[in-house]
Amino acid sequence: MFATSLELLRFHWVAYTIYALMIVSVIAWFGWNLTRKEKVRSIIRIPFYGYMAFLIMAGVGHHIFTYNSIPWVEEDIKRHEIKPDRSYLIEVADHKWKMPQMRAKEGEKVMFDVRSKDLTYGFGLFRKDGTMVFQMQVVPKHKNTLLWTFRECGNFDIVSTEYSGPAQYDKETGEDLMFVKDGMVVECKEKNEKIAMKE
């Protein structure tokens, strides 16, 4: 249902805004009616067990919904059994990345294996407009793997998504020294197909 994080977050933005407006309005309406002297007739009667069932369904249903509509959930759980199209080993120590220029084609599965030698970092891919593609924590002395199918193309920047001390930034300007511009380049399917057709 959702191909990219952008689609998912847009949906989430709308759904949560509606919910937020609804809960504020319900409590405001409730407060207003609490103070009215005339007899108030309930618009709806919510049975206690019905309300409980709704909460359980909301709590469990949320996970069932995301499992079936967000493609990276199942992939993440089964990542050890899936053969990636490409793999990249990335090392990080002393606030410096050691990584090759990473490339992939749209639709490919890429395994990122990030190892930290000293502190806890984060590994996140971001679009040019600053929106997040994905992220994970990088725990030192552990294997941190993430399998990602690129359902979008473009140049993505790499940012450490976890704070690892002020040394991550330039002392004076505050610029992020771990920021990697265009660290991941994903070629578009259409472009590949056109090149293949020309050939």
């Binding site: 933005w13 959930v73 992220q135 924590q137 725990v139 002020p166 930034y169 505050g174 992020d176």
Partner: protein, 550 residues
């Protein structure tokens, strides 16, 4: 009051007489004063961070954009806010309420006095560690960052750890005082056994009453040994205890490494497994959020609803049983903080991080339902400040709990972890709107009891505070939360105004919270006067150690 000039009010207040206060009233007010001083500091810190992130055109001096300074503020911000302000206010209210509700004197006034001094001193030390020595491992203390002597000064680390340790020692003092008071077999509890008190404290009697009802038997206990708010205080305090032990243990670990560094041993920091440490630390830290806050808040809602309406709580046995359920839920949900940690076992993510966490929707939803029905059954009610603030608190948790549950999901977490979404849409709204609105409600309910019926300087200022605070708190949380959906990270320094539209909006609404604080402060100072303020800190003239219930 009408005849008094502004100067007179500022000096003497309305009709406040500090000399008439009991020792317990004075201790309570001392902690409340310190709590609101720290609240002002934390609001100011928050505004500084918001302004820095609006970009290079922000009006602040350049030093605030320097990473060491910025992250020092970010480190002390939750310490001052959660421990210096919230803990103080909650502990003060509970050390006053438990004697009031159980009709027994507080176990030790000296210990109660020690609690606020210890927490105040500890908070001040932790703050100084950031302000002077720029010690900035953040409150998460992800191992081995707090022991990274390449980035931080040794003395800063010592001062910070000692500060946090003092806060936790004060916390343990509060816990001891509360338990010793609840379980003292005097007054109304003279004939109760320890077993009866414990069964009631854990909410087991409520559960047994429900089971007996289903089986068609007479209730297990018609009159439970402890009233429901006391049960919530007892239950929440179990989590407060465990949390204090975990934070103290983490502090000792950091201290051991700092000492080893001084003595030249320099032990390998990787002897401590970072993932195991993260699990241990989040298990404890999460007890503050998902145990202590939710349980204390539920108990406060029940108490406030019964005081405001003058009626019995709706479905009291269910509420008692739910507090017992929350005991297990709050101990098993920490893994939702580790959903982005790939070495974390998948089963722990699924069971603890997702499934058990979802139960919080049930326990908090239940508390919301019981409170609303209790209020509804007593209508019509007057829209007084306690009721208004209580409704504000319900709105706050109504917004914040689902925002957290949404992110406690492996799919959503992949794109929301460590963004401003969780920081603002979830815990800032939970704390600023949900928790504090509840605490303000309690404050207005307890005000006549704690101050011997002192008249508030202005009801208009109370309402101005209410609306500014409510709108400001929700607005700030909403706009900064939206920045999170656009990819803004929460523990990151943005100096080029990358998300400045959201940050400017958040800063505008954040400034409403700050202005509200000034208004609240002015109202309180003009009610008790500067003389009264000083009088609170002087020893009490009488030895009455609890306020009689009339």
């Amino acid at each position: 009051m009408e005849n008094k000039s502004f100067k007179e009010l500022l000096i003497n207040g309305t009709n406040f007489d500090a000399d008439s206060l009991t020792a317990l009233q004075k201790i309570t007010l001392r902690a409340v004063v310190m709590s609101f001083v720290f609240f002002g500091l934390v609001a100011l810190e928050g505004m500084i961070m918001r302004l820095v992130e609006t970009g290079p055109s922000n009006p602040l001096p350049k030093m605030f954009s320097h990473p060491d300074h910025f992250f020092s503020i970010m480190t002390v911000h939750p310490i001052v806010g959660i421990f210096g302000s919230t803990y103080q206010l909650v502990f003060a209210a509970f050390m006053f309420l438990v004697p009031y509700l159980t009709k027994k004197p507080l176990y030790s006034l000296k210990l109660a006095n020690f609690v606020w001094i210890s927490i105040t001193l500890g908070t001040a030390l932790a703050w100084l560690a950031g302000f002077i020595w720029k010690y900035a491992p953040l409150y998460t203390l992800y191992w081995p960052l707090p022991a990274d002597m390449k980035q931080f000064s040794l003395i800063g680390g010592f001062v910070f750890v000692i500060g946090v340790a003092l806060i936790m020692i004060g916390t343990l003092g509060f816990i001891y005082n509360i338990y010793a008071t609840i379980f003292a077999r005097t007054g109304v509890h003279k004939d109760k056994t320890m077993k009866e008190l414990l069964i009631s404290g854990f909410g087991i009697d409520g559960l047994l009453n429900l089971v007996y009802k289903l089986l068609g038997k007479p209730p297990y206990s018609k009159e439970p040994a402890l009233s429901l708010p006391v049960v919530a205080i007892f239950r929440g305090t179990v989590d407060t205890f465990l949390d204090a032990i975990v934070i103290l243990a983490a502090g000792i670990l950091v201290l051991v490494y700092l000492v080893s560094y001084v003595t030249g041993f320099s032990w390998d920091v990787h002897a401590i497994d970072s993932l195991l440490y993260k699990n241990f630390f989040w298990w404890g830290l999460d007890l503050v959020a998902d145990g202590l806050v939710l349980i204390y808040v539920a108990g406060s809602w029940y108490l406030l609803a019964t005081i405001i309406t003058g009626k019995k709580l709706f479905m009291e046995n269910v509420a008692r049983a739910a507090l017992l359920l929350e005991l297990f839920v709050s101990w098993m949900v920490w893994s939702h903080h580790l959903l982005a940690d790939q070495p974390q076992p998948e089963m722990m993510k699924l069971i603890s991080g997702e499934m058990v966490t979802a139960f919080e929707l049930l326990t908090q939803g239940l508390a919301l339902f019981i409170t609303l029905v209790t209020l509804w059954k007593a209508r019509p009610l007057k829209f007084t400040p306690p009721l208004a603030y209580l409704l504000g608190g319900l709105v706050g948790f109504g917004l914040a709990v689902p925002a957290g549950i949404i992110q406690a999901d492996m799919g959503m977490n992949r794109v929301l972890h460590n963004t401003q979404w969780i920081s603002f849409a979830h815990f800032h709204i939970a704390l600023i709107v949900g928790l504090y609105m509840t605490l303000y409600s309690a404050l207005y309910v307890l005000w006549p009891l704690v101050t011997n019926n002192t008249k508030l300087f202005s009801t208009k200022l109370t309402w101005a505070h209410y609306w500014l605070y409510l709108i400001g708190g929700i607005g700030m949380g909403a706009f900064a939360g939206m920045a999170g959906l656009d990819g803004m990270l929460r523990r990151h320094l943005y100096v080029n105004g990358e998300f400045n539209t959201w940050m400017i909006l958040a800063a505008i609404f954040g400034s409403m919270v700050l202005i509200a604080w000034f208004i609240f402060l002015a109202n309180i100072v003009l009610s008790i006067g500067l003389k009264g303020l000083v009088g609170i800190f002087k020893p009490a003239n009488n030895s009455i150690d609890y306020v009689e219930v009339k």
